[in-house]
Symmetry: C2
Subunit: 121 residues, 2 copies
DNA sequence: CAGGATCCTATCCGATACTG
DNA sequence: CAGTATCGGATAGGATCCTG
């Protein structure tokens, strides 16, 4: 069962307890749930996108933050990056297999919240 | 671009597009995925907990940040707060129905990542 | 077009001190 | 115990300019 983070740690003491220590998992969770990382992952769920498409799609993000978020996600192997050496150069981003797995609960979360909230004018 | 996100909202064009505007849903997602909110929600999945239990359980959190995160989550009605007027006073926190719904994909996310990561030396 | 480098501001956050 | 208030350093993040 998925329930009980402590439980799983209590049972298998060897498993890294994310809530109590600085383990790599905690960092990755922090990246995935970071202010902009969330929206990048959700945006890439439907299509691979180019840099400017992401920037346009996520209103409010700056180029700096987008670049930074993407760098982190690529490092964590949640997102891949393909460079087309044309002029002007094209760079496309997309989800890796793991990125797609991770983006699924994220989308669930997102849907849950938007479904509950009032239509909002 | 247009994403899968919009697709689910498609049909009801009036639905707020979280990726493009500043709508309340975006704020709530930000709260849920905030640095400490994540861990509070995950911690409360197994049991209701008191303030100091949360502080002990989430290593690295300061009282200030815990209080702030809790205030936000209570405001968003993801977490309830019960005050026992004893001496010393006891305050207990727990998940609301909606909080439990929301914490589920969060736990999934968490499990996905910890499962993938190396056992951590 | 896709970013890196720089500068500067807003905010996050911890430490400390204080209250009910 | 369960917080609030305040201060100061660290960090996030926007704006602008510049490059391949």
């Amino acid at each position: 069962m998925a329930g009980g983070v402590q439980d799983s740690a209590a049972g298998a003491g060897s498993r890294c307890d994310v809530l109590h220590t600085d383990c790599p998992a905690r960092d990755m969770v922090d990246h995935v749930t970071s202010r902009w990382g969330v929206w990048v992952l959700i945006s890439l769920r439907s299509n691979d996108l180019r840099f400017f498409e992401l920037r346009e799609g996520i209103r409010g993000i700056s180029e700096k933050m987008l670049a930074q978020a993407l760098r982190l996600l690529v490092r964590d192997e949640l997102v891949w990056r393909r460079v087309e050496p044309t002029t002007p150069p094209q760079v496309t981003y997309g989800l890796t297999g793991f990125g797609r797995e991770v983006s699924e609960p994220l989308t669930e979360l997102f849907d849950l919240i938007t479904r509950r909230l009032p239509p909002a004018p």
